[in-house]
Amino acid sequence: MSKKEIATRDVYGQTLLELGKENPNIVVLDADLACSTKTAMFGKAFPNRFFDMGIAEQDMISTAAGLAACGKIAFASTFAVFGSGRAWDQVRMMAAYTRLNVKIVVTHGGITTGEDGASHQANEDIAIMRAIPNMTVIVPTDGVQTASVIREAANFYGPMYIRLSRGKTPVVYENGCEFKVGKGTILKEGTDLTIIACGIMVEKALNAADALKKENVNCRVIDMPTIKPIDKELIIKCAEETGAIVTAEEHSIIGGLGGAVAEVIVENCVVPMARVGVRDTFGESGKPEELLVKYGLTESEIMAAVRHVLARKK
């Protein structure tokens, strides 16, 4: 039975459109990728409140800051590599330092961007956004949660970086999702180890936990969409109760979810831990599913990490 799949960027476009009707204060900017990021839907409905800034991401972020300084809720979208990397200084200086209401919602995060290759695969974006003070960093898990995240972003005051995917992602929250900034969710109870995942890796973590049951390993699975501020209490609780942690993310193992969890573990409750993610390398062109296998972002990779950590636990 194949699971229902939705592209998070489609949900973003749809939700922005709804928000646009509800709140005249919302403005949207894009950098010549409106058809890909799906902001074009908003643009078509609200041409006066939509600004396609052309291929100028830095100008886009600072312009968004100017709009936000005058009371607008500014959503600025492009691909993850550009929204985080190309415009990093603008995000730091004019969205974060100023604590302005700029929502940087990027699509094409991670290696599943696929055929476009390494130049377009953001595997470092979470790390560099997370390092900026005042920033809130969110990686929605599926399409259902994305709708809740975008609505929350419009209500939440301050700068935010929200990372979406290019492809369709399996629905984890079939019965709806109420997202809260800074809160992780226990999706599956377990006692031997906790897998903490974000984005497309959450579903893989759930599958890995199911498969590990056959080996008599009872994994807890946490969905951790907010990378910053990380849900410290939940991480400590899981470390204390299950005694071992594995993280899984479609991002470099440096500085992303794995890094954030490790920081909490090391300072509060040292237990064996492993990180599943891209291992400090650039990606390449290929089909998303091929790349996931080649770069170690699979159920079997999570299972191997679990076994490895459990061996250290004993």
Binding site: V27, N48, R49, F51, M53, G54, A56, Q58, D59, M60, I61, S62, T63, A64, A65, G66, L67, A68, A69, C70, G71, K72, A74, D89, Q90, R92, M93, M94, Y97, T98, R99
Partner: protein
């Protein structure tokens, strides 16, 4: 007040701003006096003639917005805000000190009257465009001003923003370039030539006004002219002298881009700018 008296009064304020710049940077033992002095007349005209603002109500929705894109010239803006009454003149001596709201580069969250944080060059015009677009959306008649350095125009983002202002026909925006011809490493024409400067702006679709950036009357006329230009953004290229008003800084502008005057230099500078007493002790 007659027009002449008004000009005289603004000139007097500009002189005060220059004195503050010298005293503030000397007290801080760091900062950027050269590019602050070159902008003093521009800032004096803006805050004491051109801008619609109310120091008692800094968040007034209908106020004109000013973005200081050349954020290192913070001292001249702080001096103007203090003289205008946003905070006490006495507070100026806390520039760059731990815990002070007078950060080395401009921080909008720590001071009333500041519209945007700057310091990383090249970003201010984009932010000013955003403010102008917001004003248009909100059907407000406020005007947005943005002051840039000429060296700052090396930054590519300035030209991204210049295209944006043109594309959206932002006639509620006036950019000013403090054209003092120097950057920290040397003469701009030696480091990386920005000429033909006015032609660049023209080619980007802007209305260009060139004026003497130290003549109050020229500046006021330029600002008034700029506001009358419709369906097109205007840039005022203000011809200035780095270190203006202090002879030894004008002579060696490179020595005073990012270096404060010593105590002895402060005294000499204040004598030149004088008619107010030098600081006690």
């Amino acid at each position: 007040m007659t027009a002449k008296e008004k000009i005289k009064a603004i000139e007097e304020i500009a002189r005060k701003l220059r004195q503050h710049i010298i005293q503030m940077t000397c007290a801080a033992a760091s900062g950027h006096p050269g590019g602050s002095l070159s902008a003093a007349d521009i800032i004096a005209v803006l805050y004491f003639h051109q801008l619609r603002h109310d120091p008692k109500n800094p968040t007034w929705a209908d106020r004109d917005r000013f973005v200081m894109s050349k954020g290192h010239a913070a001292p001249v803006l702080y001096a103007a805000l203090a003289e205008a009454g946003y905070f006490s003149v006495d507070y100026l001596k806390t520039l760059r000190k731990l815990g002070s709201s007078l950060q080395g580069h401009i921080d909008m969250l720590s001071l009333p009257g500041i519209e945007m944080s700057t310091g990383s060059l090249g970003q201010g015009l984009s932010a000013a465009n955003g403010m102008a677009l917001a004003g248009r959306l909100d059907k407000k008649d406020y005007h947005v001003y943005c002051l840039m350095g000429d060296g700052e125009c090396h930054e590519g983002q300035i030209w991204e923003a210049a295209m944006t202002s043109f594309h959206y026909k932002l006639d509620n925006l006036t950019a000013i370039v403090d054209h003092n011809k120097y950057q920290i490493d040397g003469k701009i024409e030696d480091i990386k030539n920005i000429q033909p400067f006015a032609d660049k702006w023209t080619a980007f679709g802007w209305h260009v006004i060139q004026c003497n950036g130290h003549k109050v009357e020229d500046l006021t006329k330029a600002f008034e002219k700029a506001k009358r230009v419709k369906r097109q953004p205007t840039v005022i290229i203000a011809d200035t002298v780095k270190g203006k008003g202090v002879s030894f800084m004008e002579e060696k502008p490179l020595d005073y881009h990012g270096k404060a005057p010593t105590k002895e230099e402060e005294q000499r500078a204040l004598q030149q700018l004088c008619r107010i007493e030098a600081p006690k002790k």
